[in-house]
Symmetry: none
DNA sequence: CCGAATTGGAGAAAAATTTCATAATATGCA
DNA sequence: TGCATATTATGAAATTTTTCTCCAATTCGG
């Protein structure tokens, strides 16, 4: 499959010239809208020359402007679904309306999260996980289910993972953490004192600590060696509809990414474990 | 949504001139291939003049040849780019690649799920939940975290919900279910015997039973009054990378949709409960 | 053979690309 | 640091390619 423009930009951004980055930025911000402009109009819009745009398209590996426009057009549909987001859900909405808006919200939240990923951070977390003897996930309230999901994934892959949902146990586990541990604290708002405190303790004990939060300025983020950011709407930090539904899927997205990273960097150890697990489960279910 | 070219051709075919029909026929026969040719090349290919092609595009309602090419490009791959995923993640991929593919995969899985929603089913489930005294979620393995998430949401909203992750407890709970209960069974493959069996028992006891699964032909689906479908890739039902990552987010999506439906149809009761919960949590965190 | 409809050719217009001169920036050296 | 020089980035203009428009030639039905 042909590479999408977002990926191309991400890969090449460092090598782009200043004026070319203008093009890249514009395209990233308007990824969902079909580009109807001619190269001349486009150049005027961005106040740069047509030559720059032409060079840019080549730099990204397209055959030219027309080629890029075409490629863009064929991408546009999939991403369009995510665009219409600050879609507030109203109580007059039908279930159909809600399903569309919810899809848009969740999709674009993940999208934004992806856009802001710091891959060095992710990589270092993956490395930590691979080097650790035990992996611990900590979260309270809504984050619990994400921790559970993470544990389930890693366990299946043969990596010792546990999840702890109450402040007391979190303290206990943190207190016994070592350099051999990687401890994740998951908190959307980042204000969960229990988790922040546990991370601090674990860190003092030499464990590698990782936060997954939408607020990098929060207690939980500051308590961690590495803080991974998840998207949050600009609108209030109040659980408007009972919870940060989008926040949850962003956390899951990050966890999956780390999981897949671990999977692929384990030199076959993990896929092997997966195979063993799958076989075992199969015979377990067949016996009954 | 913009009209597709196939439809336009169908509508206008009678009014097209002979040479224009050549264009139409060609386009119909090559619908899936992205048209890369310039109008000149295209004219040579068909042995007709450029003017004819230009007129043709207008006849179909496009602004011109370029416009048609663009429109064609966005039709060609409705969302294929993203559909076929984790199966397609290769171990040579960088974290950046993986993050894009994962996003695409999760996004289009939700998208497909949304497309296939039967709103009458969802509505009837929402009604059941509102009418029930207790809500039960059952799942094993990877579905556990989804059940936990569901319980957390509903509890916050003042709705009595519980989650059960082992076959034994599931049987016990199913055995004591009544007409006042709504019982959810969550299973991606739908083959989880424990859950299917529990649903059957609960149903026999008069409870309303709901399945969330990607296989409507499965034991779990058949054991339920209402089966809600989640998307699954066409590729094998084997946990290639340890689990059905996309399946999980689809399940969550469905749960969220039901939750929001309940929220908005509760005549203010639920939002009120949410407010109380939020206040309580706030003072809980402030006290410490 | 006439006249309306259809078609293509030729050139105009628009769009995209390439070239090249200039501006901006970095580098080396005293 | 200041200055000269090399390197790189950029846009204006020229060139090429693509598309559109107009109109004359052709076809076809009567």
């Amino acid at each position: 499959m042909e590479k999408g423009i977002a990926l191309r930009i991400q890969e090449k951004y460092g090598q782009l010239r200043k004026s070319e980055r203008l093009v890249a930025d514009y395209l990233r911000d308007h990824a969902s809208v079909r580009l109807e402009m001619s190269i001349t109009e486009f150049a005027n819009t961005l106040n740069i020359s047509e030559a720059t745009i032409s060079r840019f398209t080549r730099a990204l590996g397209y055959k030219g402007f027309a080629d890029m426009k075409l490629a863009l057009a064929s991408e546009s549909t999939p991403s369009q679904q995510f665009v219409n987001l600050p879609a507030e859900i109203k109580d007059t909405d039908t279930l159909t309306d809600i399903s569309f808006k919810l899809l848009g919200s969740l999709g674009s939240a993940m999208n934004e999260t992806q856009k802001h990923i710091d891959y060095e951070d992710i990589q270092s977390v993956v490395t930590s996980v691979l080097a650790s003897r035990q992996i611990v996930f900590m979260g309270v309230g809504g984050a619990v289910s994400v921790c559970e999901e993470a544990v389930h994934l890693f366990l299946k892959a043969g990596i010792q993972a546990t999840s702890h949902r109450d402040g007391y146990t979190q303290q206990v586990v943190a207190a016994t953490a070592t350099e051999q541990s990687t401890v994740f604290g998951i908190s959307h708002t980042g204000t969960t004192e229990d988790v922040a405190s546990a991370l601090n303790v674990a860190r003092r004990n030499g464990a590698r600590t990782v936060a997954v939060t939408s607020n990098l300025d929060s207690a939980v983020a500051k308590a961690a060696d590495t803080a991974i950011w998840t998207w949050t709407p600009n609108t209030p930090q109040i659980p408007l509809y009972g919870d940060f539904l989008e926040g949850r899927v962003c956390q899951i997205y990050i966890i999956y990414l780390i999981y897949l990273g671990v999977l692929f960097q384990s030199n076959g150890k993990v896929p092997e474990a997966l195979g063993v697990t799958a076989d075992t489960l199969k015979s377990y279910y067949q016996k009954r």
